[in-house]
Amino acid sequence: MTVDVLSFARAIAAGEVRVIDLTQTLSQDFPTIVLAPELGQCAPFRMEEVSRYDERGPAWYWNNISLGEHTGTHFDAPIHWISGKDLPNNAVDTIDVAKFIAPAVVIDCSKECAADPDFALTIAFVEQWEARHGKIEPGHWVLLRTDWSKQGFTDYANLRDDGAHTPGPEPAVVKWFVEQRDVHGFGTETIGTDFGQGHHFNPPFPAHFYMHGKGRFGLQCLSNLDLLPPKGAVIVAAPLKIKQGSGSPLRVLALLSGPKT
């Protein structure tokens, strides 16, 4: 069967396919990941005005920007983690572009996270979810809805004297997503795909270790996941084509069937 992409475009224009922005605004004050200060740090978003209809450029306004590959809403490529370093086509410029469009399931654990910022996603929790919504099909993004994107910045980063306290997956469930469900990647609303205290897991940072080790992707700092159904959304997430880039800030869009309710 041939798919008519023009009728798809007409459906978007007519509002029959809804487009939802899952992206945080790139702004100077949006939190970035914080590592121990003696380690290399991700640069925050910064903007310098080049001209604004003034003597530096009389009829035009533009800025120079600077930021890290992992600043703001961003995509993680397999090369980001040591476990994915030797995979073929593992950087943002070499990943097959068809992989930038894929369906998603959304696992809602917002109630659990509101009660406990250290909520850790388990296989049992996902199995309960599957009992209600059906099995996660291969090739889907798994997006973790925590409503974390609705927090103020202090609670969003939630840094205490023993590090960040933000929800994320346990090691076993990430391995299970990859090996038992063949997922496309894992996406979160928090600063990273991993649990805030994920450096104490074995392996540390399992969402990075297992996902990227098997060539899967990450999305973080997502928003508006509460507007998505458990199943049925298609995610458009195309990172910048940075030469051997480990990741990239990007605009993440979700496509949903049906008119706006």
Partner: protein
């Protein structure tokens, strides 16, 4: 006795802010020996190497023996005010606004007779101390102070023209996360500053000193990140017109050289926090400081740079850090020229390794944050331009004056 300064009334927003004026600033090249001494708070005059005569005004040839060997040396500052007069009017616009103005002749114990500005408590026929001060034009002038400190003597209006006393002034400390920033907030509160704005970047990142900062009287925490142009601009837009002294406490201390470093990420951060941070502050706050240099008792007074003394000579184990500090020193020299028309001083405070986390492995002597903060406040009270704090800073200053090449070699070993 000096009338104690009273807290200035709130500014009448319907009145024009007076434009700053400067007294006559031209000095001979030789006379800048006095400027150098005044900048550091020393009292130095030319002393003939051959006949030991102490000379004033500065000359290129000894009036006693015709020797040309006339270096400036620190000399005793005591003398007697032998005559005084009060200037009631002047054709000079600066003094015209400030009359009556007392001047007098001081016979120094070391010889010369000097015409000096007079502190209100300096009395004719009595002993006085002479100070060299930088006036609003940035040039050295002599000022006669009473022999012993008198109550409220810092509040004397003529003396306050020469100083940047924080009393009743409003201060911005750009980074309150640093130990030095926190020590400065305390020191300015104790020195009678009216408001102490303390900048905090990334308020979502907690730090242990915040509660203590909040407890200091007259401290107001404000959002400020010197690496973010928008944040600096917004702070200047909001509070710039009521900030009289800016102290840039933003620091970035990491060991590592220029060769012996892996990549440029940290180097870029150093330059961003230190040099570009200073440039952002200068562009945002400089013009408004300069415009408010004569804005009453709480006129804009100073921009303070805290600089590693290794801005003057690179310390290779902290070599990249030293280079960023040197960039700030060069910028500060430019800022001096740019802010001088407003009578706003740029005070550079040089220090050696601090008693802080990032100098953990460096052996003493190190400078305690409170000691640095105290030196900043004293420097402002005295109206200095260059302050050296602690043994390492003083040692480097002296060795640099004698033999810079020897210092370069020795500091690397």
């Amino acid at each position: 006795m000096t009338e104690p300064l009273i807290r200035p009334k709130r500014k009448n927003p319907l009145q024009r802010t007076r434009r700053p004026l400067s007294p006559q600033a031209v000095r001979s090249r030789t006379a800048h020996g006095l400027t150098a001494a005044a900048a550091e708070g020393r009292f130095a005059l030319q002393v003939c190497e051959d006949c030991k005569t102490v000379i004033y005004p500065p000359r290129d040839c000894c009036p006693s023996c015709f020797s040309a060997r006339l270096p400036f040396r620190d000399v005793a500052r005591g003398g007697v005010l032998i005559a005084e007069t009060t200037v009631q009017t002047s054709t000079d616009p600066y003094f015209r606004e400030r009359t009556p103005w007392r001047v007098g002749t001081v016979k120094l114990d070391v010889g010369p007779v000097i015409v000096a500005h007079l502190h209100g408590d300096a009395q004719e026929g009595r002993r006085v101390r002479l100070d060299l001060k930088l006036d609003k034009s940035g040039s050295a002038v002599a000022m006669a102070l009473p022999e012993k400190d008198t109550p409220n003597m810092a509040d004397d209006p003529h003396l306050r023209e020469m100083t940047c006393d924080p009393k009743f002034r409003r201060v911005l400390i750009t980074d309150g996360r640093t130990a030095v920033g926190q020590a400065l907030a305390k020191a300015f509160a104790n020195a009678g500053a009216s408001i102490i704005f303390v900048g905090i970047a990334d308020s979502w990142k907690p730090f242990s000193g915040l509660e203590a900062l909040r407890r200091i009287e007259r401290v107001e925490i404000v959002p400020l990140d010197v690496t973010d142009t928008e944040s600096v601009t917004e702070q200047a837009e909001q509070n710039g017109a009521r900030i009289d002294i800016v102290v840039n406490t933003a620091e970035h201390v990491r060991s590592g050289g220029v060769v012996d470093r892996h990549g440029l990420t940290v180097t870029r951060e150093e330059m961003d926090v230190r040099y570009l941070g200073l440039a952002r502050l200068a562009q945002a706050f400089g013009p408004i400081l300069r415009a408010r240099g004569a804005d009453g008792v709480n006129s804009a007074a100073a921009f303070v740079n805290l600089l590693s003394v290794h801005a003057l000579m690179n310390w290779p184990i902290y070599g990249s850090y030293s280079a960023a500090e040197a960039a700030c020193l060069s910028a500060a020299q430019c800022m001096r020229a740019e802010l001088r028309p407003g009578g706003v001083k740029v005070m550079n405070v040089f220090f050696g390794p601090l008693e802080t986390e990032w100098f953990q492995t460096v052996p003493p002597p190190k400078v305690a944050p409170a000691a640095l903060a105290g030196a900043v406040v004293r420097g402002l009270q005295q109206g200095l331009e260059d302050v050296f704090v602690g043994d390492v800073a003083e040692d480097i200053r002296q060795r640099l004056a004698v033999n810079p090449k020897a210092l370069e070699r020795e500091i690397a070993s």
